[in-house]
Amino acid sequence: MSSELRDLYQEVIIDHSRKPRNFGKPEGANRNAEGVNPLCGDQITLYLKLSGDVIEDIGFQGAGCAISKASASLMTAALKKKTKAEAEALFERVHSMISEGPKSKVDPEELGKLAVLSGVWEFPARVKCATLAWHTLRSALDGAGAPVSTE
């Protein structure tokens, strides 16, 4: 198997796609947003329980490829108890890592488990799969409520 493929489909990715964490609507969720990738039919609904500026709880539902599900699962795990500002900052760093690859100023190592998403950069057609959950997060934080599309 090519090393790029191994980078993309790391065990953590496969594991999170098969057993997504925080799958479902959390009790007391007070924000949600819808995200779709019309090209693949990937679809995600993200739920937040915000108390003040803090993400008390977070969960998602939906269907998609391994990359989009794992990305959503890893994201929800990383965002619990984080503030809105911290979530926004994480969005920026993850987005930069996935879309810019080695040119990015973000060192994947600093992102903990989310570093497994760095391999996506080698697969331009799959960047949208990995970023869908993150764009949906932004929409949920904005509270705008309009469905997010990767197109």
Partner: protein
Amino acid sequence: MSTTANSVSAVAAGFDAAQLSKDFPALNQLVHGKPLVYLDNAATSQKPRSVIDAIIRFYEEDCSNIHRGVHLLSERATKAYEEVRLAVQQFIHAASPAEVIFVRGATEAINLVAQSYGRTHVQAGDAVLISAMEHHSNIVPWQILCEEKGAKLHVIPMNDRGELLLEEYEKLLTPETKLVAVAHVSNALGTINPVRQIIRMAHERGIPVLVDGAQAVPHLQVDVQDLDCDFYAFSGHKMYGPTGIGILYGKQRLLEAMPPYQGGGDMISSVTFEKTTYNKLPYKFEAGTPDIAGAIGLGAAIDYVSRLGLDAIAAHEHELLVHATEALRQVPGLRLVGTAKEKASVLSFLFGDVHPHDIGTILDREGIAIRTGHHCAQPLMRRLGVAATARASLAFYNRREDVDVLVAGLHKVREVFG
């Protein structure tokens, strides 16, 4: 897939796909360091050298506008363009070249009929009848029309194998139904629909039929007079020709009575600010400078396909389909989607719980190009209860070995996903 497999394999025996694939420059390359195995022919086919050369020759030697210049280059370009119209007429067995209209592709052909014929004949309370397995290009133009007119869009249902239910179809042929629009071959499932019968049943009630032939013309002999279809739409790029060119066939009687689709140059006889007299067929529907090079490329593609013969192509592809169906059925966890009795060489499938996009990415790294997703047929995917499928679609230049590489690739997918 039931038809005379023995007799067709006899025809296919002399067919040298490996040799033919050398005519297609794009097929002879490495992808991620592996020889390309191109199995995305239903999306677009590769182009033989003769098509590429014809386009280059036009731009290098004959480049000029058609139907107006008195100079030599324009004469040559006009002659070449109109000769392709004659070649298309022969290719689909149309009664007259006036019935062959150059368009951008099957999508534009269908939109032309919806906007010109449809807007004239479909009124509030009427219905347009399509099928459960249509490509978006044979759904959305009718939705736009129905919305504008207050008409209804009805859908012929299908069974789980992907075959249209003709008894249900018959019930939907009501007095309100003003047009039937149906795919000859399904892009997502490969089903070859019984269009001849569908047309006959509609005609018994005086309803005209448009056939979307985009997936049929590369694989089957099409005889529009024998089918007795009223309109037939197809694209050049799925039959080894260039993108940007396609054909609308229409019965002359219908086309004569239809208003123009677009206005502009070439589609007129005379223009004053008070009144324009439209040109005769087929020019009435060809406003503006067309894709002249595209038409010439299409002509070269028709030449190429005709030299091979569609019967030989169909025989080889059928044999490949039988082999591929058998080989894929033996891959544990693989489920074929679309198992109609009559099929073209399209294999849609699901593979365990692995999402089609992940399959596509892993196969790509093995040099194998397939399509993954909803195949521009979201209502069909919903009917099947799936978000997406992986699809391998075969052409005459594919070989049994390509199918074997695909199967090996699927074992790689299994490796990655454990």
